[in-house]
């Protein structure tokens, strides 16, 4: 009943719950273009808004990486076209250091927060939570709408920071002070960083509004019979993701606010004993601690990588089960490992700070807790493998991306065992090894989960299919490309090549990877081009794709496939269906799949 009052559904949608369905509780609101597509409160539309904004950001963030890869791969060559577009930032067709650092900062910020947090959680939490829990909409559709528009405002501020005369923030995506606090020490730390901080603050508001909504919807608005243990793993993953975000983003916000104070109000939270050589002046600030910021940042920063990967894990679990035509192996272990990861995610942040002068004893505790997280991760991998074992696998693009996800998660997860061990981290910290590690395990793997989700639920979003031939090309090129780019990069890291170096020619011991960097750049351009092809496929298929004619095209058990092919606001035309079983009865008792809505038959085996 609770969500009735918030609905503005089409006239034919009966919005009453089962209790009141005889009352014909129908709202006759007129939908204008504005309420339907712009300020929509329909969770499905909001999900699409997050997805499309995320895609726009992914193009920008990806393009930035291509630009700085050009510098890394061809440090001696000039590209006059860059000067045409970027003027003094690419004087003589060569990327200037300030521009390079602005590019990597924006690449990181955009992809970590705007694409893989908002674009991934925002899309799939919005789309799937009401549909798979059996609710007509979110607990608060209005807050949900605000969540998107705060994200949009954050995007506007962030984009505007790209055009200020001193350039955008350029202190790395982590924006450590004092570098990010001192405009005199760094061009990008002038107005660019203020805009960056404001955009991020708006972003935190957006993600809190979204997260609270996701949690309350999952806890309170499941349909009849949908106990927590009958929820699909996608919902469990999104649930834990939201909890991580709600508990850790406020800490980040506090860290950012202190930084804003230090920058503009003369406080000394992070600043102490500083002499800026550019101005030849000693600053008055004493007694602050630059390391305090790192604690506040990584208290979100580490949970953040799980905020990014957990939704992908959920999507992959669901897609692999559906397409292996087998139940996900070890459902309770999967939920338990998600829970364990969520708890541990809060207890490992200082492994980013092993070489900051942290007390070695404290460091050793964080080694233990960090490596502990490998246990639930290993359980998940083994369970995915067993899900494939003796299945009857259909290779849709979504399945392929899910298999790719597992492969990348293994590769990147194992290199995490190196870095989590403080002894090895002394050598590998802040080298290309860490760049390779987190790009594989968090960047590309999460993208693979996101792609799997887009290919799998595109029919539900738009009532059409994506072209699967383009989907296969997309998968194979991206998969091969991801390994070609990041696998050899580990070797650079083992050689000690520091990250964020735009030119190695001045270094005797590092300057021997010219050929390799050239190869990586060429491959990354190809991979980027193929992503553009995917985006073309995406928009083309929204309007011209093959139409979905079957209500349940993948033969899946979950509730979203019991809605009409193009569901209106309110999702189900009649009553919300009742749920009688878990989401994974595939291949049971000789039947290919048994939807959750089917009552348990007489004498049916117990799972």
């Amino acid at each position: 009943m609770s969500n009735d009052s918030n609905l503005h559904g089409k006239p034919e949608i009966v919005t009453g719950h089962e209790v009141h369905h005889d009352e014909h509780h129908v709202h006759h609101h007129k939908e204008t273009f504005i309420t339907k597509y712009v300020f929509s409160q329909d969770h499905k539309t909001i999900g699409k808004q997050f997805l499309i904004t995320g895609i726009a950001w992914a193009i920008i963030g990806g393009l930035f990486s291509v630009l700085f890869r050009l510098q890394l791969g061809f440090p001696d060559q000039t590209f006059p076209i860059l000067e045409t577009f970027f003027g003094r930032y690419a004087k003589g067709g060569q990327i200037q250091p300030e521009f390079y650092y602005a590019l990597i900062t924006m690449h990181g910020t955009v992809l970590v927060f705007f694409v893989l947090t908002a674009g991934l959680s925002g899309t799939f939490a919005n789309l799937l939570i009401p549909l798979q829990c059996g609710a007509r909409d979110m607990a608060s559709p209005f807050l949900n709408m605000l969540s998107y528009w705060f994200f949009f405002m954050a995007s506007v501020v962030m984009v505007s920071s790209l055009f200020v005369s001193t350039g955008p923030a350029s202190g790395g995506w982590t924006s450590y002070p004092p570098l990010s606090a001192l405009g005199d020490a760094n061009q990008g730390s002038k107005i660019g960083t203020d805009l960056w901080l404001i955009a991020m603050a708006l972003f935190v508001v957006s993600s809190l509004l979204g997260g609270l909504n996701y949690i309350s919807t999952i806890l309170n608005m499941r349909t009849k019979g949908m106990s927590m243990t009958r929820l699909p793993l996608t919902i469990w993953a999104l649930f834990f993701t939201a909890i991580l975000g709600v508990l850790s983003f406020p800490v980040l916000l506090s860290g950012f606010i202190l930084l804003l104070f230090d920058r503009n109000l003369g406080t000394s939270f992070y600043l102490s004993d500083i002499f800026v050589s550019q101005t030849g002046q000693a600053l008055p600030n004493e007694g602050g601690s630059a390391i305090l910021y790192q604690h506040l940042f990584w208290f979100l920063g580490h949970p953040e990588v799980y905020i990014i990967i957990l939704p992908s894990m959920g999507i992959v679990s669901e897609v692999l089960a559906v397409n292996s035509r087998k139940p996900i192996f070890g459902y309770m272990a999967m939920v338990g490992s998600l829970f364990a990861i969520t708890i541990l995610a809060f207890l490992v942040w200082a492994h980013h700070m092993f070489v900051t002068g942290l007390n070695p004893f404290l460091g050793s505790i964080f080694v233990l807790l960090t490596l502990l997280i490998a246990v639930p991760s290993a359980i998940k991998v083994f369970n995915w493998l067993t899900t494939l074992w003796r299945g009857n696998i259909r290779f849709t693009p979504a399945t392929l991306f899910s298999i790719g996800f597992v492969s990348l998660f293994i590769s990147g997860g194992l290199t995490g065992v190196f870095l989590g061990n403080s002894t090895i981290d002394i050598h590998l910290h802040d080298t290309k090894f860490i760049v390779a590690h987190f790009h594989i395990v968090m960047g590309v793997a999460s993208f693979f989960g996101m792609f799997a989700g887009v290919y799998h639920w595109f029919p539900k979003m738009f009532g059409r299919y994506l072209n699967s031939t383009l989907g296969f090309i997309h998968f194979w090129v991206t998969m091969a490309g991801a390994y070609l780019i990041f696998w050899p990069m580990h070797y650079e890291g083992l050689a000690g090549v520091p990250r964020r170096y735009l030119d190695l020619s001045g270094w005797h011991n590092f300057n021997k990877f010219g050929e390799l960097n050239k190869m990586i750049t060429v491959v990354s351009i190809i991979v980027f081009a193929v992503q553009l092809m995917f985006i073309f496929n995406f928009f083309y298929s929204i309007f011209k794709g093959r139409k979905v004619r079957h209500q349940n095209p993948w033969g899946a058990n979950t509730l979203e496939w019991t809605t009409p092919i193009r569901p209106g606001h309110g999702n189900w035309t009649g009553e919300i269906p009742e749920v009688h079983r878990w989401a994974y009865d595939y291949g049971k008792d000789g039947r290919e799949f048994i939807p959750q809505t089917e009552p348990i038959g007489k004498g049916e085996g117990h799972h």
Partner: protein
């Protein structure tokens, strides 16, 4: 012009790909969707197998090509421990990597859709799940154990007889201070920093321990003698990265940090060992510190005690540079009064 052609070719290639993809969709409809789907299913399953094989060959090839370029033997005693830990971890994770990747792609290929097979309903198995919770837990406990053992050895207190060098980072250079004959560093205060008055580190000249401190832009250390670095920064966070010694520590303004190690080979020995006449130990900044970060390089020279003593004796204390050709005691108060007067006039 060249760029234009490249873009044209790319666009053309894309157009062709798109047309083929579009046609394949129509052909599938004509031939019967089910049949076409099964065919692409077989192709993708086969490609997964090919990817596994090509990937394993690629891993081998990559290692062959690059193994000579990663740093050779660690040049410090602590670095040896780090390398040992690295190899233990590599062995454990390597085994897991090959087993899981091979199973993943093999299962995907083997259990591709077939009319002959029905998926096996296998929702859970407590025994299996316990096995693969316990085995990783044991393996990781071992790794944590070794790791922490070495960690405490490396980060423990430096030996009493360790020589001390103070390292100061600033945008974008390194400066080193030696305590001189008395073995004690004089006090400093960041507000006294004044490069124009030859006081780049802000030494307090009224502290007598500062009289013999030597400030220099190249680090010299003694082979087989533990060295303790006292690390600081003048402006933003930097990081002392010594890749050949496998050491690293942040330089944080306002919060001094320390790190110690024992170099094993002199620079000259490394030149002989590596056969590279230009070999030099390098100190890299490993924490983003601004536009010159990538060029913030320092040079470390490891030499014998004799060579080191000879080198140190040839250097003039910074005090002399700051007080040129004077009897030190006389000028000090005069300077101060002048500055105070100047300040009062402001």
């Amino acid at each position: 012009m060249q760029t234009f052609f490249v873009i044209l070719i790319l666009a053309f290639g894309f157009l062709i790909t798109f047309q083929i993809a579009k046609t394949s969709e129509y052909v599938a409809v004509l031939r019967g969707e089910e049949k076409a789907r099964k065919q692409t299913n077989r192709i993708n399953a086969f490609l997964l197998l090919i990817f596994l094989i090509a990937g394993l060959i690629g891993v081998y090839y990559c290692n062959e090509r690059l193994k000579g370029k990663i740093l050779g033997e660690a040049a410090s005693i602590q670095g040896e421990k780090i390398d040992t830990m690295l190899y233990i971890t590599l062995a454990v994770t390597g085994i897991v990597f090959f087993i899981t990747q091979i199973l993943l792609f093999w299962f995907a290929f083997k259990y591709q859709e077939s009319d002959q097979r029905k998926a096996y309903y296998f929702p859970h198995n407590n025994k299996l799940e316990i096995i693969w919770t316990v085995i990783p837990a044991i393996a990781l406990t071992a790794l944590v154990g070794f790791g922490i053992y070495y960690w405490f050895k490396i980060t423990g207190d430096a030996p009493q007889d360790a020589m001390q060098v103070e390292v100061t980072g600033s945008q974008f250079k390194w400066e080193f201070r030696y305590p001189g004959k008395d073995g004690i560093f004089g006090k400093k205060y960041y507000k006294q920093i004044d490069p124009e008055k030859n006081n780049p580190l802000g030494q307090l000249w009224d502290d007598p321990y500062n009289r013999d401190d030597i400030v220099i832009n190249e680090m010299h250390i003694v082979v087989n003698k533990p060295v303790k670095l006292i690390i600081g920064s003048k402006d933003v966070i930097h990081d002392v990265g010594l890749a050949q010694f496998r050491m690293k520590m942040d330089a944080v303004p306002g919060t001094p940090t320390t790190m110690w190690f024992t170099p094993k080979y002199t620079t000259r020995q490394m030149i002989e060992k590596s056969g590279d006449p230009d070999f030099v130990y390098e100190l890299s900044c490993d924490q983003l510190c601004g536009k010159g970060h990538y060029s913030m390089r320092g040079v470390v020279i490891v030499e014998t005690q004799e060579e080191f003593d000879r080198w140190l004796i040839s250097k003039q204390p910074q005090y002399m540079a700051a007080h040129p050709a004077q009897a030190p005691q006389k000028t000090q108060p005069a300077d101060t009064t002048k500055r105070v007067a100047a300040n009062m006039n402001k």
